[in-house]
Amino acid sequence: MSQSFDLLIDGMIETIRSRILPQLGDDFVRGQAYGIIYALSGLKLSADWSIAPLRSQIALQDKAFAEFVRLGAELDHPDVPCGPRVLPSAPESAELERLRNDGDRKLGELLMWTSGPGAAADPERAKAIQATLRHIIRDQLKIDISIMAKPMFHELATGEESGSAQSRG
């Protein structure tokens, strides 16, 4: 079980318990809410974060690290993980999520290095490394976007269904 998935399910259950149930007076509707809590608790035990997007993101990070090593070969730069970090024996999603998050932190460190004094020895090469890292990170974000639901800012902010264009002042 990944940490974010776990948090999300716990958050949904707690919201129904503390924010929604106290506002419900109808016993049947309360029963429905408890039904949702039960279903969510079951989901928490049986479902898991999809591992395919995490694997793809880690592969992109590995590509970024390899490019960094190639382009920055003669520069004094931070340590970079080498080789594929995910072994064929697929770890569970929590481990993949940890690897992805660690990879993001390392990419952040490398990006910051390209803008810092360490890269001053060869600014042109640092710039090229920076462009490469940004490009690959953007590809990584595309994977997040591909599994993202349509924004619901209006509903979240107003509590109204989409369709009414004005709210009360």
Binding site: L7, I13, L111, S115, R134
Partner: protein
Amino acid sequence: MKANVAPSLDPLSGTQSPGAKTAELAIDDATMRHRLTQYLCAEAGSPVEVETFERRSTGFSWITYSFTARDQSGQKRKLILRVGPTNGLFAPYSVLPQVYALQSMENSRVPVPRLVSYSQQGANIGFPFFISEHVAGDVAAPWLGSGATEQHRRGIVLQFLDILAELHTIDWQHLPLRELLVKIPAGERTERAPLTAWRALVSRPLIRYYPLLDWAGLWLHENCPTPPRMTIVHGDYRVGNFLEENGNITAILDWELTHVGDPHEDLGWALVPTFNGGSRKLYGVMERSEVIDRYQNKSGITLSPRSLAYYEAFALYQMAAIQICGIHAFEVAGFDDMRMAAMSTQMASIVRALDKAIEVVA
């Protein structure tokens, strides 16, 4: 008010689990009404009855209530109460920027609700709050596009820009808003202070770290342009933060992020497509070139294309930082508001757009 529940920490992550809530943070409307009545009576030194009391928004930050107060003589006043809750998106809150703004604008041509009362300490209410007069009007929904006619929206946009020009040409140095400058750390460039504040919020540790967002903060810091002049900046000037009635803007709202800075900042924020029904045109009707011409003609301030592009990138950074605040509220502070968790789902698209926007500036 519910009893306080001690927070429990997840030993593995160091974050608070959503099950461990500071339940006292939930604001109960009946309790709030009671406390408001107590406050009004204390202020008046005589009985005051709160006849109607209604929560007006479920926004992400300050909570707004509309109420009618009747004093001992039977006189009624329709008023607005705005409360900064302990568990709001940008908590802990200061009421002072809004108070200074409303005081500073009172005799200007920038329409604002008249300030009636306020307390930073919370008085009877328990949270920082202010009370203002009620202003008639509706709030346009920024995210969906408007159902109003194009002609109607053009009329509103012209006023929107003229008011912004008016705001940016106010001589603020002798107004209460000048007090906000005191809070800027010595050595900090005034126009960069908002970025510094957002970067501090972004740098708080969360489960997911966004390398491009971190780097973008550094880039924006190093490439912040020199302002054409230092002006009042509303800080959240966009469709959705004004009241309109019969084709007229009746009040500019939500001054919590106001500060002194670069006037490009307000324009960059107002032009974010998210606030314009997904359109690159202001309110979906006015091209950028026309926006710039209108603003320059009315304000006398010459806009720099590079500065505007910079502040469009800054706007996306600010949007990402606001999402981060939502994620932090949910993951770390343990607030049981699922909207905070939902906000995190948009991070990837915002960060990607931010990086592209930086490419445009560079």
